[in-house]
Structure formats: structure tokens, C-alpha cells
């Protein structure tokens, strides 16, 4: 259920629950994903990946593969080492940051299991796959660095040449920054001190469309189609990495089936396919299998989080100290190093901490490298602080919402500058929380919880709270500069007025399933007063949309959408002199509304002139004011002045079967404040999908490696992704405090659900079982972990560190004749 309470003109498109215009072609088989692209003479690439997490390559014999039917070429690291450059890391978080070179094809060493050691090019995909199996590689195995804490202690080295596993230490301290007090002092003087350590497990962004690349080298430019979130960044990075003029590269992101950050990357496979196409002179395609995707597409999260929260006995928080150890994996990808740092400003969340310190140690291991995954840095922060606020409430024996409210920023205090130095422009945590409690039936559920507790019911009930905020709308370029990020955070848009009255909108924010076409059309329809259907949104091809910074970080609407508005306004401004000319009026007397210019004071019945009529007049250019260029088209590049700060209150009720450890979601209510809404359907879709992804971190998903660095959750058999059958109907609603930093008054929504939901679920499960002496359960909260926690809490069994991927040594598992086919 959803209430839209913004008031809008009846004809307005913004705020309407338009069905997404891009869906028809997607669901009727007219989609064009990269793998659908077939070019004359196209060759196919298969990657040879080797199983060792850490090994020296001592020899590669590709002769059998070379001779295999249909094979055109086999490329090894040696063949490309002078052309492949090093894959880019655009975010050196500190000047001293250490990182190994990052080859697309490993040359003499593999640093994680799944790294490419050779590429086979053949006339068919099957021939390439057959031949890939024949490439014979000899290795000398090296000791892999698998455990994050051991890696941080430099016990073994993931990259011996680097001399350490520690890539960078990034620190923010409110006393040093002048944004707050000294946290050590707060800790020293604390009346209540809560110290906890949490594990953010490793996750895999499991987008629906596997990655795929096609490179056509036969035209004047190299054309690359790629299942990417970032065609513009990819084009620039390819040019820089491979020393090819940027003007000779065209990147197209056709239909892209999801990304969740997993396609915010410049991948080895993109570089390899490019090199292979250049070498063979033929169009080449590579499409990954799901196993390859799980193994070698970048992963997400993977941190240890140590937190110290200082408070007064009355519940007022006085300081927060955060020490993170973040797993980079084997290499630094595009923004690997910056992901945990994106959380730096968010651990303090909606609370008025007077002092704050954040330290993050980035560490290399011999695992798949990590990078952006939906929320990127902020889910980690939200999880930790929302868990801590529950811990504080428990410590004080108080209601968790009450303790939060005592400490959060009141609605009349906005704009509010936080201890991390950000200025939150707007928000109303009281309103969202009140609405959420009402929809949830908070008091009734608490009463039921008490009843079940009292009766010792087998199924216990727990209630979890998460009152989150996040910073999104990445990002003001100046802030990015201060964080040493390698690019800005602006976005570009053009509006083209076609002579027939249709409008083309070009956006640099390349969508991959979010519904930009629909939302942008709604915005432009309102701005220019043209029908929704008459707006065509073009994106994702660097030759059409030549400029842009793409889609991630919940930035598209608040940055890219604002650029569209600016461009549309420029169109109107450009049309104004012509309108005045046609209407024989003074420019200053013109009014523009609903797509028409009219003359102020010329009476009700006047016709005025339509913008689309002016577009035709400009096309003919027969009679333009002196000096006017024959074009109404306009470009705008918008650099946001601030982040966007959506917030909300999420309440979750979980039932825990204390006999089996199985938990079941009973109710989930979220009231989000994402400012003004352009399309409520799309917002609901983002919230629902986001919730499932966040809940999945709490309950289901985890990438597990064995001690040799082999990914044992290498397929969906073991990487337990939920489906709709595992979810319940969520109750979603909104409160609205418009953002003051963009014309729409909108805030980002792409990541909100994911960021908020994880701690709500974990807090709920813990709330159900704390009575048994349980204080923490690691994510994902599998039935076994929950059961063991209860057993241990009750003092009846030991809890292993984690669910073991395999057998315990010495555990018998042979079949005995007695158990065959039946038991005695």
C-alpha cells in the first residue's frame, strides 16, 4: 500500500504511476542484450581460468588448443603483456595507497582463483570452450591468503612483491576535522560503553543478465557493446589503459539486465575482448557463464567492523569510534578502495554524536576482488550503527525506538551539519517512524511477543528496527576531489526539438533496468508541455550520448534528472526570442505554460504559439529573429551542490522456530522519505527489490571460500539467492520532505531498501532470541547458526565460528553396511 500525498496539477506527469515504457520490448522478446548481437564473421572468445588462488605460472602449452578445430588464436599473458596495461583503479584513497599491477591476463602469477590465464578465440563458442580445456598450464602453488584478519596481520602475503597486504589506511576524526569532539575523551568519560564486532559477509552481485562484450574493430572506430553500467567511464578507461585515442572508441551499453554495482567496472574481459578483436581484425564476442560470473565478477561487502559507542546513562550518545578492516580481494578494481570509505560519513547516521572517529584498513587477500555492490559502503555503515543502537537499548533496558528518538536529529533542526561534516538538507524522522509504527501495529506485536515469551512458545517473535539515512546522488565534484576520486560527479543531458514536434532527450545516465526512459519522459513532458509519448529518451551509446557519468549511487534522478530539467529550461529560453518574434511581442511579456508561449495581458482567448510549432519554424529557419541560430536544442551539465539524504523507518517482525533455528518473516513495514516522487510505481519497484537484496544479506546470501581459496558457493545451488517464493508482501509507504538541493525535490531511492533492511531483520531475529542469552549471530542468519546460538546461549552446545563449508577433520562419513538402505 502506498499513499502519494504530494499535490500536483491534474495534467502533470511527474507523480503519476506511469507503466514503464521500456518494459514492453523487454518482456516481448524484442530486447537487445549484448549477447544478442551477431555480426558478420564474428569470432568467439573463451577464457581459460585456473583454479589456484595463488600460484606462479611456470609454463603454458597452448599447442593443443591452437590445433583444435575452429581455433583462430590463443592469447596468453606473455602475448599481451606489452599492450594490456593495468586495469584502472580510479580511487587512490590515500597518497600512499599500495596496489599491485592488475593485468587483464595474468602474466606470471595468479592471485585469485578464477583469474584469466589465457583467452581462446574460435569460430564458434563451442569450439572456443573445447579448446580452452586443452590449454595446459603448469603452476607452482603458493600459499594463499584467505582469512581477512590474518591478512591484515601480514602473516602471509597475497602479493609478495608488495611487501604487505595493507593497501591503505583511511582515517576521519571529528576532532581533527573540526566537526566535533575527541572520541577518545568521550570513551574515557562514558557512563555506558558498548563495544561490538560485526562481520559483513562477502556477497555476490547476482544481476540477471550475465556479462557480455562484443568488440567490432572493422569500422573507423572500435565499437564495444558491453553489459555495463558505465559506458562513458569504460570508454575513457579503455583509452587510458590501452593507449588508444578516446575518439577511436565507441562504447554501447544496449539493453542491460541489471547490475547492482556489479557492472560498475572496467573488466579484464572487456580489455581482453578488445585486444583479441584488434589482433584478429574480426568482431569478437565473449559471454560469461553464471559460474564465471559468480567466480570472477567482482564481489561486494566483506568487512570486519569494530565499533565502540559511548553514551550517558540517560541514553544520550556521546561518541562513536569505528575501526574497519575491508577486504579488497586480490586487486583494486575501478572503485574497490573507495567503497568502504563511502561509509565513512554514514556511521553516525541520523544521530547527534558529538564526537566520531572512523578508520578503515584496506587489505589484500587472494580472493576475487570486491567493489561496488548496491549501497556500496552505506549498508555496512547502516548495519553497524543500527545494530549498535539496539545494543545500546538492550544495555539500558529500554525500547529501541525510544533510544533512537532521544538521539536523532529533530525535524526542526534541519538543515543539520553532522559530526562527519555533511549537511543534511531535510528530513523528518519522527513522521516516518510514527507512520511506520502505526502501519506495523508496533504495540500489538510487542504485546504478542511478551505473550509468546511468557508461554515459552516454540516459536518466538522478535521486532527489529532500522531508522536509516544514507547519502546518495553521487556526487558533488568538489567533494569527490577532496576524497581523491579520479573523476567528478556531474551529469549531462541534451534536449533536442525535432521538427515534427517530437522531443529527444539524451542522458549521460545510462540505465540498466531502472526505468529512466519513463521517468525522464515524465519530467520533460511537464517541463516542455509535450505529451509523455512524444518524448524519446536516448542513452547508453557514447556516440549518441557523448558525455556522462552513468548510473550508480542512486544518482540518476537527482543528478541526471536535474541536468534534464536544466537542458529543458534552456530550450525554453532559446525559444523565447523566436516566440516573441512570431507573436510580435516583447520577450519580457511572454509567459510559458503547458507547452505554449502567450503574451501577458493579451487576454484569455489568445492562441499564443506552441513550443513544437517553434521547433518546426526553427527547422525551416525561414523567418528567425536576426542573429538567432536555427536550433532550439540545448545541453546542460549539472554538478550537484550536495548529496541527497533519503531516510526512513523500517520495522520487521521475525518468527524464530527455536527448535530448528528456522526464521520466518512475519511482517515488514517501511516508510521511506525519498522526497518528491516522479513515478510511484518505479519507486515501489526500487524499494521492493532493494528490500529483498538487503534481507538476503541478513538471511540467505554468502560467498564462501575454503581454506585453499576456492569459491565453494560457485553456483546457485550453494549461493542461495532468494526468489519471490521466499518473500512476503511488504507494506511500503512514504512521507515526503522535499530535498532542497534539486528542482524536483527528489532524493535517491535506488539503494535505500538494501541499506535499511539488513539490520531491521537481524535486530528482529536477535530480539526473538536474546532471552536465551544470545548476543549476536553472524549473517547470513542460517537456521543452523540461529539454532547453535540458542544452544550456546542456553549453555548446551558450542557454537562454531561459522558454518563450515565442509567436513570437520576426523568426522566419520563413510557408509557402513548398517546404514545402507535402512537403519537398524
Amino acid at each position: 500500500m502506498t499513499a502519494v500525498d504530494e499535490t500536483r496539477a491534474p495534467s502533470a506527469e511527474v507523480g503519476r504511476d506511469r507503466r514503464r515504457k521500456e518494459d514492453q520490448h523487454l518482456i516481448t522478446g524484442r530486447s537487445r542484450f549484448t549477447d544478442n548481437i551477431v555480426l558478420p564473421g564474428m569470432l568467439h572468445v573463451a577464457m581459460v581460468r585456473r583454479p589456484y588462488a595463488h600460484a606462479r605460472i611456470t609454463g603454458i602449452d597452448a599447442s593443443a588448443a591452437q590445433e583444435s578445430p575452429g581455433v583462430v588464436a590463443v592469447l596468453t599473458g606473455d602475448d599481451v603483456k606489452d599492450q594490456q596495461g593495468s586495469l584502472p583503479n580510479a580511487w587512490p584513497v590515500t597518497p600512499e595507497q599500495k596496489a599491485p599491477p592488475h593485468p587483464a591476463i595474468a602474466v606470471d602469477r595468479v592471485a585469485f582463483s578464477g583469474e584469466v590465464v589465457a583467452a581462446v578465440v574460435a569460430r564458434t563458442a563451442a569450439a572456443a570452450r573445447d579448446a580452452a580445456e586443452l590449454v595446459d598450464v603448469d603452476y607452482e602453488e603458493l600459499d594463499p591468503v584467505v582469512d581477512l584478519k590474518a591478512a591484515a596481520a601480514d602473516e602471509k602475503l597475497a602479493h609478495p612483491d608488495l611487501g604487505t597486504n595493507r593497501s591503505a589506511l583511511w582515517v576521519f576524526d571529528s576532532a581533527e576535522a573540526g566537526t566535533g569532539g575527541d572520541v577518545e575523551e568521550a570513551i574515557r568519560d562514558a557512563e555506558v560503553l558498548v563495544e561490538r564486532e560485526f562481520r559483513q559477509q562477502r556477497l555476490i552481485p547476482a544481476f540477471m543478465e550475465p556479462r557480455s562484450v562484443v568488440v567490432d574493430p572493422t569500422g573507423e572506430q572500435f565499437t564495444m557493446w558491453s553489459a555495463t553500467q558505465v559506458p562513458h567511464i569504460l570508454r575513457l578507461m579503455l583509452a587510458l589503459t590501452l593507449a588508444v585515442p578516446e575518439s577511436k572508441i565507441r562504447v554501447i551499453a544496449p539493453d542491460v539486465g541489471g547490475g547492482f554495482g556489479g557492472k560498475l567496472q572496467v573488466t579484464p574481459e572487456e580489455v581482453i575482448t578488445f585486444l583479441v578483436a584488434r589482433r584478429t581484425g574480426k568482431p569478437c564476442k565473449w559471454t560469461e557463464t553464471r559460474s564465471e560470473s559468480l567466480l570472477s565478477g567482482h564481489h561486494g561487502r566483506d568487512q570486519w567492523q569494530k565499533l565502540t559507542l559511548a553514551a550517558r546513562r540517560d541514553g544520550t550518545v556521546t561518541g562513536l569510534k569505528v575501526e574497519l578492516t575491508a577486504n579488497m580481494g586480490a586487486y583494486l578494481g575501478l572503485v574497490t578502495s573507495g567503497i568502504p570509505i563511502l561509509g565513512a560519513f554514514m556511521f553516525n547516521a541520523i544521530y547527534k554524536f558529538p564526537s566520531y572517529r572512523f578508520e578503515c584498513q584496506n587489505v589484500f587477500t587472494n580472493l576475487t576482488w570486491t567493489d561496488a555492490y548496491r549501497g556500496a559502503g552505506r549498508p555496512e555503515a547502516t548495519f553497524a550503527i543500527e545494530r549498535m543502537m539496539d545494543e545500546l537499548a538492550t544495555e539500558l533496558g529500554r525500547d529501541p525506538i525510544e533510544v533512537r528518538e532521544q538521539n536523532w536529529i529533530k525535524h526542526e533542526e534541519f538543515p543539520f551539519t553532522t559530526v562527519a561534516g555533511l549537511e543534511y538538507d531535510s528530513g523528518n524522522y519522527e513522521a516516518a517512524t510514527a507512520r511506520a509504527k502505526e502501519l506495523f501495529g508496533y504495540d500489538e506485536l510487542r504485546a504478542e511477543q511478551a505473550r509468546r515469551r511468557e508461554s515459552g512458545d516454540r516459536v518466538q517473535l522478535g521486532i527489529g528496527v532500522s531508522t536509516f539515512t544514507e547519502m546518495c546522488g553521487l556526487a558533488p565534484s568538489r567533494v569527490l576531489g577532496s576524497l581523491s576520486y579520479g573523476a567528478g560527479g556531474w551529469e549531462h543531458a541534451s534536449v533536442r526539438m525535432l521538427p515534427s514536434g517530437k522531443v529527444e532527450v539524451i542522458t549521460g545516465s545510462s540505465a540498466h533496468g531502472q526505468g529512466h526512459e519513463t521517468a525522464w519522459s515524465q519530467i520533460v513532458a511537464d517541463q516542455l508541455g509535450v505529451p509523455f509519448e512524444d518524448v524519446e529518451v536516448l542513452h547508453g551509446d557514447t556516440q549518441i550520448s557523448h558525455k556522462g557519468l552513468d548510473t550508480y549511487g542512486s544518482r540518476s534522478l537527482v543528478v541526471g534528472g536535474q541536468a534534464v530539467i536544466k537542458a529543458a529550461q534552456k530550450v525554453i529560453d532559446k525559444a523565447r526570442p523566436l516566440a516573441a518574434h512570431v507573436l510580435e511581442a516583447n520577450v519580457d511579456d511572454l509567459e510559458f505554460a503547458e507547452g505554449r508561449f502567450t503574451v501577458r495581458g493579451a487576454g484569455e482567448g489568445q492562441e499564443g504559439i506552441g513550443l513544437t510549432d517553434l521547433a518546426l519554424a526553427v527547422f525551416a529557419a525561414h523567418d528567425l529573429p536576426d542573429g538567432m541560430e536555427p536550433s532550439l536544442d540545448a545541453d546542460a551539465t549539472y554538478d550537484p551542490v550536495n548529496f541527497s539524504y533519503p531516510h526512513g523507518t523500517h520495522l520487521c517482525a521475525m518468527e524464530v522456530d527455536t527448535e530448528t533455528g528456522q526464521s520466518r518473516m512475519r511482517a515488514y513495514v517501511c516508510v521511506d522519505d525519498v522526497g518528491n516522487v516522479v513515478n510511484p510505481l518505479i519507486v515501489d519497484g526500487q524499494v521492493h527489490g532493494g528490500l529483498v537484496q538487503g534481507i538476503a544479506q541478513a538471511l540467505w546470501e554468502e560467498a564462501v571460500y575454503d581454506d585453499q581459496g576456492t569459491l565453494v558457493t560457485g553456483s546457485f545451488v550453494d549461493y542461495t539467492l532468494p526468489t519471490s517464493a521466499d518473500t512476503i508482501s511488504y507494506v511500503t509507504d512514504r512521507t515526503v520532505t522535499p530535498s532542497t538541493t534539486n528542482d524536483l525535490g527528489a532524493k535517491g531511492v535506488g539503494e535505500a531498501g538494501t541499506i535499511a533492511s539488513t539490520p531491521a531483520v537481524v535486530n528482529a531475529v536477535l530480539d526473538a532470541v536474546r532471552q536465551f542469552g544470545v548476543t549476536d549471530i553472524r549473517m547470513p542468519m542460517t537456521p543452523e547458526r540461529v539454532w547453535r546460538a540458542i544452544q550456546e546461549g542456553r549453555g548446551s552446545a558450542p557454537t562454531p565460528e561459522a558454518a563450515q563449508p565442509h567436513f570437520e577433520a576426523g568426522e566419520p562419513n563413510q557408509d557402513t553396511p548398517e546404514t545402507e538402505g535402512g537403519q537398524a
Binding site: E133, T782, E811, T819
Partner: protein, 286 residues
């Protein structure tokens, strides 16, 4: 994922299929629904010379009433079994278990006999078939008439059954359990998952008391298991939770379940006790 090359033959008759299997020996692989075979081929964990597709053989598709029992041919898919009024009426336990197998797409292709021949300890139909005292019908060329193998002798080990090279499992015959209450309790973390463990229970109750009980366990060892001790202990008990609890708690005892990402052996043993109680109770209508 592309399998290595293989020859593909789709015989139209059982006779032809048996001939092909005897010709090709261990180079041949039978393809029924392909839901287990194809993933293995695509992962290139096998590269047979010949794949013999039996899904086009009409005579294998039938589900027939044999008087005392129901015979399910090797070509019958899970969906055929679900749709069969015979199964619903006489083999409630199998019907229930099949509803828990994978998802509709897989149930429309995968076959019950394929699953039995595959003998995956986490497969959902092994336990029920064992508990219901089924008999497997195995045929090969040059041998007159089918070889009948009792379910208890059929499952040899992990992925290993009494079906040898050149042999085909042609049907499973299951005695009717008309009027029995039944329940299949499948324990999973996400809905489409293989059973972490499963408990199959069929109960014949007389006036609120258990007259006869059959209990099969999924994924509690390298083959489906029959909880015979529990079955015996249940006889004569009232169909109430209190009465059943102790007998059922024994279900995991003496078993040797796997330890993996979803649970250590001790947890599985614990679950077996709890879920057996729930399954029996549900089967007994309690």
C-alpha cells in the same frame, strides 16, 4: 556452459534403447528429463560418447494401476505424477514429496525414475519410495523380463544404484497406501533449494492410534534411509505430539549425515528428530 561433443540418439522403443545401451556400454548415458545430467555435462564433469534420450519412448511414460500397486514408467515426469489421480489417491506420500521437488519448470521435465537412477541423497523422492516399499524394474538387452529390485537393495551408495552399465530402470512399482495419512517435511533455507534434510512419513491410524507407520529420511546419509526403529516405536501410540515425541526423537540416531554449508552432521541429526515428529504428526492428522 557448453558440454563437450557427444552423439545423441532418441530411440522410439524400449527395445531400441536397450540395444543402444548394450552396444555402447559405459560410453552411453541415459537422458530422461536431463535435469541432473545436463548440468553435469555442461560443467564438463562428464563427457559421454553417446546420450540415449528415452523421453520419446511412449511405452515408458505410463502410470498404471496394477491392482495392489501403481507402476510409474521411466518416462513419467514429476508433473505426470502430480497430475495422476492414481498417485493422488493411493500414493499420497509420493504426491506430497513431488510437490516439494525444485520448481515447475524442472518438474515438467524431470522424471521420478531419473531421480531414482541418479540417486542423489538430497533428492526428494528416494525417501518416500523407500518408505513405501517400492520395487524397481530394471531391464537390459538379452535378459528376458525385468529384474525386480526392492527399494531397500536399490540404493547402493552416493549416486550409485543397482542399475548397472547397459541396464535401464524402466519403472518403479509402489504398493498402494490407500487411506494412509502422509506428509513430507522438507527443510530448506530458500524455497528452490535441495533438501537440507527431508522426512517422509506415512501413517495408518486407527481410532486416533497409530496402527502402522513408515518413515523415510532424505539426505541423512549417502542413500535414502528408512527409520525402522522409529516406525516400530510408533505403533500403538496416540497421534498426539506428547505421545509421539520420544519415539520420533530417535530418528537421527545412528545416521551419518553429511556436513556442509547448510549444516553440520549433529545439526542434521537434531533436525531429523524434530522434523520426524512434525511429519508423523501431520501424517496422522494431529
Amino acid at each position: 556452459m557448453i558440454p563437450a561433443q557427444f552423439d545423441y540418439v532418441a530411440p522410439a522403443t524400449l527395445e531400441e534403447a536397450l540395444t543402444l545401451l548394450s552396444e555402447h556400454g559405459d560410453e552411453a548415458k541415459v537422458l530422461a528429463g536431463g535435469q541432473s545430467l545436463l548440468p553435469v555435462l555442461r560443467m564438463r564433469l562428464n563427457a559421454p560418447g553417446v546420450v540415449v534420450d528415452i523421453s520419446g519412448i511412449q511405452e515408458l511414460k505410463e502410470i498404471t494401476d496394477q491392482g495392489e500397486s501403481i507402476r510409474i514408467g521411466a518416462g513419467a515426469t514429476y508433473q505426470d505424477v502430480l497430475d495422476s489421480p492414481l498417485v493422488r489417491e493411493h500414493l499420497g506420500l509420493l504426491h506430497k514429496a513431488v510437490t516439494e521437488v525444485a520448481d515447475p519448470q524442472i518438474r515438467h521435465r524431470g522424471t521420478v525414475c531419473g531421480a531414482l537412477a541418479h540417486s542423489d541423497p538430497a533428492g526428494d523422492v528416494g525417501g518416500p519410495v523407500l518408505a513405501l516399499d517400492a520395487t524397481m524394474e530394471v531391464q537390459s538387452r538379452g535378459v528376458v523380463g525385468p529384474r525386480q529390485v526392492a527399494a531397500a537393495d536399490f540404493f547402493v551408495d552416493l549416486f550409485e544404484t543397482a542399475v548397472g552399465d547397459g541396464e535401464l530402470l524402466t519403472a518403479v512399482t509402489i504398493p498402494k497406501h490407500t487411506g494412509w495419512g502422509s506428509h513430507y517435511e522438507k527443510f530448506v533455507r530458500v524455497s528452490h533449494q535441495w533438501a537440507i534434510i527431508g522426512v517422509a512419513a506415512a501413517v495408518r491410524a486407527e481410532g486416533g492410534t497409530i496402527a502402522e507407520a513408515k518413515v523415510g529420511l532424505t539426505n541423512m546419509g549417502s542413500v535414502p534411509l528408512r527409520a525402522t526403529a522409529v516406525e516400530q516405536a510408533l505403533v500403538g501410540l496416540a497421534a498426539t505430539e506428547e505421545a509421539l515425541a520420544e519415539a520420533c526423537s530417535l530418528a537421527g540416531e545412528g545416521t551419518d549425515p553429511p556436513s556442509d554449508l547448510n549444516g553440520q552432521a549433529d545439526y542434521r541429526r537434531h533436525l531429523a528428530g524434530v522434523l520426524t515428529r512434525r511429519a508423523v504428526l501431520a501424517a496422522a492428522g494431529g
